[in-house]
């Protein structure tokens, strides 16, 4: 219940950010620099006198968009690769899993750094870089699970009845991946939010003056002693976001 409420809040914020913001999130006001909480600025203003609330809601939208795209890329390709290699095995499995391991051996930030080194920094480059970096871990989890299911007695008996491989995968294996996938997707989403923040800390990803939660957080730490407000709100929103999704995930996990 709490999860649904928190997630709902974040989603509403994101939608709001997509439609309209109280202020232009980029508009600067020298007089309002670092101003505190007020009726006009419910979360105060940042180092350029920009309205933090407006930036936070746009930032939520950006962060959700990036993280969701990353997880989508990771889950989609990871499930395909993991299912095929896990189910069929053999030399295909060997080759793909070796390549998979090779990519997995690059820590995701390293891989993202290399990709961004080639294409320069930017939002779409970041999605691509992190998306690719997320595929192998999904593939590995799915493959492990498929290996387990494949050897279960009932799959073997379905096979004896002459069901095609395609049917077995579609009807008997994929539905059984739901639990594992659900928890991986949620962990993955949370990881993506954290990875976005980490990459922003290293100066990649969303370009200023555009906000994303990670970007705001890393900009804010330079002022953490004197103006903690600039860090607190993006921080709280990140926590709410991840909290909401993992609570929701727990619920979904329990139901199934």
């Amino acid at each position: 219940m709490i999860g649904a409420v928190l997630t709902g809040m974040v989603v509403i914020l994101a939608l709001w950010g997509a439609i309209k913001t109280p202020y232009d999130p980029m508009a600067m006001d020298g007089a309002a620099k670092f101003s505190g909480i007020s009726l006009r600025h419910p979360m105060g203003c940042d180092q350029f006198g920009r309205d933090i609330f407006s930036r936070v809601i746009v930032g939520v939208r950006e962060t959700m968009l990036i993280s969701a795209s990353v997880v989508l890329i990771g889950t989609f390709f990871g499930t395909i690769i993991g299912t095929i290699t896990g189910y069929f095995g053999g030399w295909l499995d060997e080759i793909i899993m070796r390549l998979n391991d090779a990519v997995l051996a690059f820590p995701s930030v390293l891989l993202a750094l290399v990709i961004i080194g080639i294409f320069n920094s930017g939002k779409y480059q970041l999605i691509l870089a992190l998306g690719i970096a997320f595929i192998p871990s999904f593939a590995r989890i799915v493959r492990g699970e498929v290996l387990k299911i494949r050897n279960l007695d009932y799959i073997q008996s379905v096979k004896l009845y002459g069901a095609s491989d395609f049917r077995i995968i579609l009807v008997h294996i994929l539905p059984n991946l739901k639990t594992v996938l659900m928890s991986s997707v949620l962990i993955g989403f949370n990881n993506a939010v954290l990875a976005e923040a980490g990459m922003s800390y290293l100066g990649m990803g969303v370009q200023p003056p555009n906000p994303s939660l990670g970007r705001m957080l890393s900009e804010a730490q330079a002022f953490i002693f004197t103006s903690p407000l600039t860090a607190i709100f993006p921080g709280i929103i990140i926590v709410i976001m991840i909290l909401g999704f993992s609570l929701l995930g727990d619920r979904v996990g329990k139901k199934s």
Binding site: F106, P107, L110, V114, G117, G144, K148, G198, S246
Partner: protein, 312 residues
Amino acid sequence: MKYVLKKLLTMIITLLAVSILVFFAFSLIPGNPAISRLGTEATQESIDALTHEMGLDRPVMVRFGEWVTGILRGDFGMSYSYNQPVMKLLSQKLGTTILLSLMAILLTVLLAFPLGIYMARNSDSKLDIALTTINQIIMAIPSFFSGILLTLIFGVTLKVFTPGAFVSYKTNFMGCLGYLFFPALSIALPKVTMVSKLLKDTALSEANKDYVRTAYSRGNRTKAVFYNHVLKNAMIPVITFLGMTFADIIAGSIIVEQVFSVPGMGRILLTSISGRDYPVVEAIILILAAFVVVSNLVVDLLYHKFDPRIHV
């Protein structure tokens, strides 16, 4: 034994794949390292001369061949920026990063396993709910941010350690461990929450399976069933996850080293990427990748032990 040999072989193939990926990825990156070295006073003549001196005007395959044969001899080449052998440049930093990563892994296991087991055994108790909530909040804090908070609290306010005053493990091993404790903790914290949550979830779903119910109905003692069957089976995804976490932990150390000014591989990696110091970048990635691949091998072997059904 045959299984182990086979795994070793695949590990070597993986490393070869990594080295090919690494070398050619960096040949694609735009930007000439000679220009970076010459800086703003560069002229076309001096750039050409230095490009030639650094051997960058030769075909890429020739350079790859030399690079690989060099590595087999333990020679990663010379750093462009420092005019020093790469290995000499990295030796101490490599130790620091590996030490930091190992500490983070150790902390993760030490904290996550007892926590996860406790939460699974006492699920839905008040303490479990409290722990789960705290867990989930901690999971939501990026490691660099928890690093900053730890520095703020323990470094600046409580003065438990001096931020930035890193001592090398060669001069003072305990002091180095002490300094690395907080960086390791901020890397480990999110991993602890994830591993313990996963352990709890899988243990609970395992506990609901028929065979466990059967065991219970036969009057087996709860504890024995839990440790002998439930936990053993629940370990499989947890170990997979831990294995994948090694790469994440190293990635985490690259970022967290920046927060705590730890002079490990992370810092030199970032500056070398932007400095186009390819020999250094390639060496670092290859070494870190080797570390990950070896730890994955260990995971695979453990996997094998826990679940004999899986034969790859």
